[in-house]
């Protein structure tokens, strides 16, 4: 499924290898949470599992952590099969969605817990805890109870606790979802910094596509228990493999048409040149709103459209256009200093697409 053809600059060593894993939850009726999933997560990378709720991303994370056994398939960590290891035997730690900090222990005791369970000597535990407290800038609050600190601070403690035993892989289950917008932005940067400093493989679960695009080295887009596409953020955004990925990541326009030679005749009758890779028959095209340009009606090769609505968004304005047959297209125009864009509703305009912007996403 990985359509990434460029060689990656990072090390190609595999940290976690998910090999044809399925997970079926028993019950009436049984639920297939993961359906024959395979993915290789490289050492040192910030890998994101992205998808709508119920797509199986958290289940995959729990399988890697060892909280659930796979129904079939295997999981390897650095080449070693870990499918049968209980969670306390896997060098993998988790930052839980609700943090799961032990309420009866102090901040420092929470961070020390994993090290103590591993039977590390007292001095080493103390040093590592101090190091971790420094890493997440929580030295001042080390003796507080976890119930006495703010949400953002709890988040930092949860991170420190999971990082303290120096796991090979850190799993993060929507760790930022409980934070408010500003704090979330801060923590996104913080997480990237920590990943760089520690050199640990991060597997991050989120349903927020913007978060995924900003933070990840590679993203796996999931839906209905399957991985649809794996690749770096730019590739996922600009070369979606199917309609679901195109629609889930960012905003986009869809056009339907029929392949005719090297071009597609869309439903309004216009011809659009796209690389078809040998496809024939009915196809769906996608084009991002920021790749749609307005031009004079009589310009060569322009599609004819009428502006049906203009919606102001601050930095830009969404221009809703209707083609002859009623097909709707949204163009994103930069707002002028006056707040206008120089067009008005009902105006007849021409439109064209930036070269290479139109993609085929299936039939």
């Amino acid at each position: 499924m990985n359509v990434n053809s460029q060689p990656d600059i990072r090390s190609e060593a595999i940290a976690v290898d998910v090999d044809r894993v399925s997970k079926i939850f028993g019950g009436e009726p049984p639920v297939t949470a993961l359906d024959d999933v395979s993915v290789a997560i490289r050492q040192n990378e910030f890998f994101t599992l992205l998808g709508p709720s119920g797509c199986g991303k958290t289940t995959l994370l729990r399988l890697i952590a060892g909280f659930e056994p796979p129904t079939s398939g295997s999981l390897r960590l650095g080449g070693r099969d870990i499918s049968r290891l209980p969670p306390n035997k896997r060098p993998i730690n988790t930052v839980f969605q609700n943090y799961a900090l032990f309420p009866h222990m102090s901040v420092a005791a929470n961070i020390a817990f994993g090290l103590q369970m591993l039977g590390k000597p007292k001095a080493e535990v103390r040093d590592t805890v101090d190091e971790m407290l420094k890493l997440v800038q929580m030295e001042a609050l080390k003796n507080r109870r976890t119930s006495e600190i703010s949400g953002g601070q709890q988040q930092r403690v949860a991170l420190a606790r999971a990082l303290a035993p120096h796991p090979e892989v850190l799993l993060l289950d929507e760790p930022l979802s409980a934070l408010d917008y500003k704090l979330r932005k801060e923590m996104q940067i913080e997480l990237k910094r920590l990943q760089g400093e520690t050199g640990i493989t991060f597997i991050f679960v989120t349903h927020d596509q913007e978060e995924a695009l900003t933070m990840s080295d590679r993203i796996a887009v999931m839906n209905a228990g399957k991985i649809l596409q794996v690749g770096p953020p730019r590739e996922i955004y600009n070369r979606p493999v199917n309609r679901f990925v195109a629609d889930f990541i960012g905003e986009t326009n869809f056009l339907t048409g029929t392949a005719q030679g090297d071009a597609v005749r869309i439903s309004s009758g216009h011809m659009i040149a796209v690389p078809l890779d040998g496809r024939t028959g009915d196809v769906t095209l996608t084009v991002r709103p920021e790749q749609v340009r307005l031009c004079p009606v009589d310009q060569d090769g322009a599609l004819h459209a009428e502006i049906s609505d203009l919606v102001y968004f601050g930095t830009d304005t969404h221009c809703h256009l209707a083609l002859k047959d009623g097909t709707q297209i949204v163009a994103r125009l930069q707002s002028l200093p006056t707040g206008e864009v120089g067009y008005m509703r009902g105006q007849a305009v021409g439109l064209r697409f930036e070269p290479g912007a139109v993609q085929v996403v299936g039939a």
């Binding site: 090999d19 044809r20 056994p69 129904t71 079939s72 398939g73 295997s74 049968r84």
Partner: protein, 302 residues
């Protein structure tokens, strides 16, 4: 390709049984099991000095409501037994009704205080609930007995010139049972009223209901589950009461609990005592089953 089987359900099931086994064994030996032995005893013949003779007989069950004349062998209703059974039901019912009448306003009052005050008042209600029933009954005894606080006070101020006989009457038993079981009514009622959304009451007033109509048409139907829970919680121990009628009712105003006791003491009729216990048990169990049915039905609808 490794395949890990999901944790078999049987394993968790087994740990359930292993962990609960010690408790279940003790409960079987020292609580539930003896109830079945008691059932067997109710079908035996009484021994001359208590205990039983191991010989099958339905006489005990027969004697619960009927008696055979010693001289001519005619069958008549066992009036004494029936009086005691009827008194038990009657007293338990009056206690329950009265507990509702005073318990509902009390629970309402607590539920409409400030949160701090509410907690304190609940604590005040809980203390008597956990306080020795014997001590509480004893406290009532000291007030209403002939040489008790009430009579001494009335004599002293000259309202009466001879003590009024309150103790050793059905009324004294009723008074004592209401006193000791009232917290059992207030607590579930409070829980129900606490959940009640006061905006519904505002809506009722907004739609022209007066206080009584709002209470009857809006509040009572919604807090009904609490009302029924409270009534069950009061009625059941009141019906099987032993200490309160013994201390406040005296020898003549027995309830079924004291009557059962009598069969194992002076009465020396263990099978009859066992049969009466089984009857009480069946009665209480059927009430609980009806109650559980009611709860399930009302939660299904809700």
């Amino acid at each position: 390709m490794a395949t890990v089987k999901p944790k078999p359900a049987a394993k968790t099931e087994r740990s359930t049984w292993l962990l609960t086994a010690p408790a279940l064994v003790l409960l079987t030996v020292a609580a539930t099991g003896p109830l079945f032995i008691m059932l067997i005893y109710s079908f035996l013949e009484p021994g001359q000095y208590g205990n039983v003779v191991w010989k099958f007989s339905t006489k005990a069950w027969f004697n619960v409501i009927l008696q055979r004349d010693i001289f001519d062998g005619t069958l008549t209703w066992a009036d004494a037994h029936l009086t005691i059974l009827w008194r038990s039901v009657k007293l338990a019912m009056t206690t329950t009704v009265f507990a509702v009448l005073v318990g509902f306003p009390t629970a309402w009052f607590i539920a409409t205080r400030t949160p701090r005050m509410r907690l304190f008042m609940l604590f005040l209600i809980t203390i008597p609930f956990w306080t020795n029933l014997l001590i509480r009954t004893f406290a009532i005894n000291q007030i209403i007995r002939n040489e008790g606080v009430l009579n001494s006070f009335l004599l002293w101020i000259g309202v009466i010139d001879a003590p009024i006989q309150i103790i050793y009457s059905d009324f004294a038993v009723f008074l004592g049972m209401t006193y000791v079981y009232l917290p059992l009514m207030v607590l579930p009622l409070y829980a129900a009223i606490d959940r009640f959304d006061m905006r519904l009451l505002e809506a009722a007033y907004d739609l022209y209901a007066n206080r009584w109509q709002a209470l009857r048409r809006v509040v009572l139907p919604i807090v009904k589950p609490g009302l029924i829970a409270g009534s069950i919680l009061v009625f059941i121990p009141a019906l099987g009461a032993y200490v309160t009628p013994r201390i406040l009712g005296g020898g003549r105003n027995m309830m079924i609990g004291n009557f059962i006791d009598l069969q194992f003491g002076q009465g020396r009729n263990w099978p009859l005592g066992a049969a009466l216990s089984v009857i009480l048990l069946i009665f209480v169990t059927s009430m609980l089953i009806l109650y559980v049915r009611f709860v399930n039905r009302s939660t299904d609808n809700g």
